[in-house]
């Protein structure tokens, strides 16, 4: 990734560790995280570079990277780190911080799916797949893309097969404690209150 030449923020590590602790400063760059990561083929910064950049205070570079958004949260890095650094949890912290600071995700479909999913949970307390997918396709711009390319037919066929196989609930089953869920899960605009 090209350096944007931003000014390092030397308080970045302290901010980050206050939300953890994630033990990022323990990193000795063995690159075990990167070696075991199944998603590096889609990343711009390798996982060990994300940690290194964070230690160097290169906040902008980290928060604007694709890496934090294409991380699959498979937890292989965290599990194998010889120094107990919670790498996957750091990736989550960076996503949340990027959202709070209004930094657009370079992989907007991923954020669109998370937001659509959480809105869906806010409504009924449980996920209703029947509205999750159509709204996500609309919101992520995938619907337009599918219409343009004609691949919408495949999706329509898949939806129809799911329906026929009775693998689609036809109506949501909202829970009783919806108010409680709404007090836990703030609307997307008010989300991101980190310590």
């Amino acid at each position: 990734m090209q350096s944007t030449g931003s000014v390092p923020d030397y308080t970045f590590l302290d901010q980050m560790e206050a939300a953890g602790p994630f033990h990022a400063a323990e990193c000795f760059q063995c690159r075990k995280c990167t070696s075991g990561c199944p998603a590096t083929f889609a990343m711009d910064l390798m996982p060990d570079q994300v940690i290194r950049y964070a230690l160097l205070g290169l906040k902008e570079e980290v928060l604007r990277s694709r890496t934090i958004w294409v991380c699959a949260s498979c937890e292989t890095c965290t599990t194998r780190c010889p120094n107990g650094i919670q790498i996957a949890e750091i990736m989550d912290y960076f996503k949340e911080l990027a959202v709070r600071e209004g930094i657009p995700s370079p992989v907007p479909q991923v954020l669109a799916l998370h937001e659509t999913f959480l809105d869906n949970v806010r409504q009924g307390g449980r996920v209703f797949e029947g509205s999750l997918l159509p709204i996500f396709f609309l919101r992520s711009g995938q619907l337009r893309e599918k219409l343009r390319k004609g691949t919408w037919r495949d999706d329509a066929r898949m939806g129809w097969r799911l329906l026929r196989k009775r693998r689609f609930a036809l109506a949501p089953r909202p829970i009783k404690a919806r108010e409680e869920i709404r007090s836990i899960l703030r609307p997307s605009k008010r989300r991101g209150v980190l310590p």
């Binding site: 199944p38 991923v110 799916l113 797949e129 799911l162 196989k165 991101g192």
Partner: protein, 286 residues
Amino acid sequence: MKVTYYPGCSLEGTARDYADSIEAICGFLGIHLEEVPDWNCCGATAAHSVDHKASVELAARNLNQASILPNEDLLVPCPLCFNRLRAASWALEHEEGGRYSFRLQPGIPMIWDLANFFGTESMLKELSLKVKKPLNGLKVVCYYGCMASRPPRVTGSRDHENPQSMDRIVKALGATSLHWPYKTDCCGASLMLSRPDMGYRMVGKLYDMAQRMGAEAIVVSCQMCQSNLDMYQERIEAEWGRKFAPPIFYFTELMGLALGMLEVPSWLSRHFADPRPLLERKGLLP
């Protein structure tokens, strides 16, 4: 035996087949499932990605709801739900106080991943005594994915690099479980929706290795892995220019088969990659 049960949202929809098989085999084995009262979504990947506080509190509410019932065990079939419930319990115990507006009630049951629950010594013994139609000649690989094992700090797993629960179960049922190196490699999870190109590559890699090892089917315990491995086979085959088409069984479906349960074909009919021709060839279809 009474246990508390947290099905999770997918089991009410796309993973209806998993839910049916779990309810049926538990009924058969005399395990009475009591659903967590008014349970909510565990928050899944979305919550822990962009709202850490909510991810802990959503899951913690379910734990408190589970504490209302007197049972000692909480069965969680979805490994992601299992992981989030465990992660919430870990966070509330170990993270700085005052970070969350939730406290865990006393009497939280033991949180079990379903495959680990059925993979204990005593369960396996009971299971092998009840096998009516051993699955002789069926060669499978067991695919565990991520969330039942990692990170072990949260899951409590002691064999996270080479998990064994499903291997032990399918062996107890008479099938052959082959060794393979991608047991715990990620299927891409929700990236299959947001970045299908990534999902196709990650799942194609699994098909490729399973085929090289001579597996006739892949056995899973996760409905996210099942749908990622089962629903997109045509597209992945087109992408890879290869024929894969392995049936993707839930381990609970194989339990039902070996226990001689007649309703198994109705669960299997909900799959995209139809496993019935394979079972027919092996003489294993009821």
